[in-house]
Amino acid sequence: MSVARILAVCGLAAGLAMGALTDTVPPRDPITIEGYQILSGDFHVHAFVGDGGIPPWMLQGHAPHVGLDVIAITNHNQTLAARLGRAAAQPSGTLVLVGEEITGRDYHLIGVGIARPVNWDQPARGAIADVHAQGGVAIAAHPMHGFDGYDPAALAELDGVEAAHLDTLSPAMGRQFEEFYQRTVARNPEVAAIGSSDFHTSGPMGLCRTYLFVRERSEAGVVQAIRDGRTVGRCESGRLWGRPELVRLLEPYRDALAPPDESFAQTLALLLVWLSLVALAIVGLRS
């Protein structure tokens, strides 16, 4: 074995060991405001056996590391991964909800709290009705141009809108999200403001997130909070979206609720692993 090969293998082992040693769940104090528990959620998470990077049965274990209390697994036009994730979830851990990104021709709609896939080949209003018929909530996903095929009646039926999304970091896209959110609020003032990371393979999950004011820490409590519009969305910039009275209540807890920062040691471990993989790819296994 050449020196370069030995260094690459040792670097990979050292990086993985360092990653394991620094892999801690950041401590968080529970927050209660006016009788509501505040939960952090991400309702737009893709998983493997889809276009996500992490297998669904590993997502519950990952969520506390990014400060999330509840996630919905929402692969495109299927609920298989979500059901696998839910089946593997421990009852005492992060809540894992079955969801789907209903991917239609001119809209993407998140259904959360559903049991089976919803037909995508229909107008948005029909898909929203199907989600409601299953007892779930319907959230307009990244409603920028091209994905905003909701007629006025459909807007009025929506339970939530992704107001805070990774794409809102671009000013042009941000304006489109804002315009859609305001248009929906004008028709449906109680609509839930949702923050979602649209997590695929280039994390982090929960970069944009939703704060929920729940009566009880359960799937029913979470779905009800979205249905009632008791949510505030947040993205990387720290801006909060939602009903002004809820945003005001959350303001004092803005820092306490922020996504945890990656530590220097964690970044170093990731860098070491990545460099070792590059070296291994180049030197190969044999001379």
Partner: protein
């Protein structure tokens, strides 16, 4: 300093393949699986790193197991191509090993993308990402063509045909996966006005 064979092969495929097939190596299936296994480790670890930004052993191992379907599909495609070269001078396992020795362009592309996503704040525009696929795609086509000419002992015309077949199967598998998992189908229907 002598460069590692995978790098030499990526830089000068025909000459390096000639050197490699001249080596007195007995190809075994165990040896043939080493490089696909390394590809699984690279893809599985890189995707886990990029997705989770954590590298606990359990998560990494699960990532490797899940994403090993990529080298598995590549191996099946490779076996089809190798099987079509009847006059090849080497055993099937040795041919598979040499085909996977040309994986560097795709491994590097994956790692560069993961590196950009994970360690830089630069947002990668989808168009740029799609266009960047051209680099490993063209590079790999050149390597596969050299593989067919030298390692499989094909005539230039036969090598061209097998290279086209290899690339066609690879991209068909890629797009089939993309269509299955990413909900592109409804967008395509909307695009064509159906």
């Amino acid at each position: 300093m002598r460069l590692p064979p995978d790098l030499r092969l990526a830089l000068s495929p025909t000459e390096t393949y000639r050197q490699l097939i001249a080596e007195p190596v007995r190809g075994t299936w165990l040896r043939a699986l080493e490089r696909p296994a390394l590809v699984a480790v690279i893809i599985g670890t890189a995707v886990t790193l990029s997705s989770a930004r954590r590298v606990p052993l359990g998560l990494v191992l699960m990532g490797i197991v899940c994403w090993s379907f990529v080298p598995l599909v590549q191996s099946l495609i490779g076996l089809v191509v190798i099987g079509r070269a009847r006059g090849r001078p080497m055993s099937v396992p040795r041919c598979l090993e040499l085909l996977f020795a040309g994986h560097l362009p795709w491994s590097l592309w994956t790692l560069v993308m993961v590196g950009l996503y994970t360690f830089t704040p630069v947002p990668i525009v989808l168009t740029a990402q799609v266009l960047s696929l051209l680099v490993p795609a063209v590079w790999t086509t050149i390597i596969v063509s050299s593989f067919c000419r030298t390692a499989l002992g094909c005539t230039p015309a036969r090598a061209r045909m097998l290279t086209v077949a290899h690339q066609a199967m690879t991209w068909t598998a890629f797009f089939a996966y993309l269509f299955l998992v990413s909900g592109i189908w409804p967008r395509m229907l909307a695009f064509v006005g159906a």
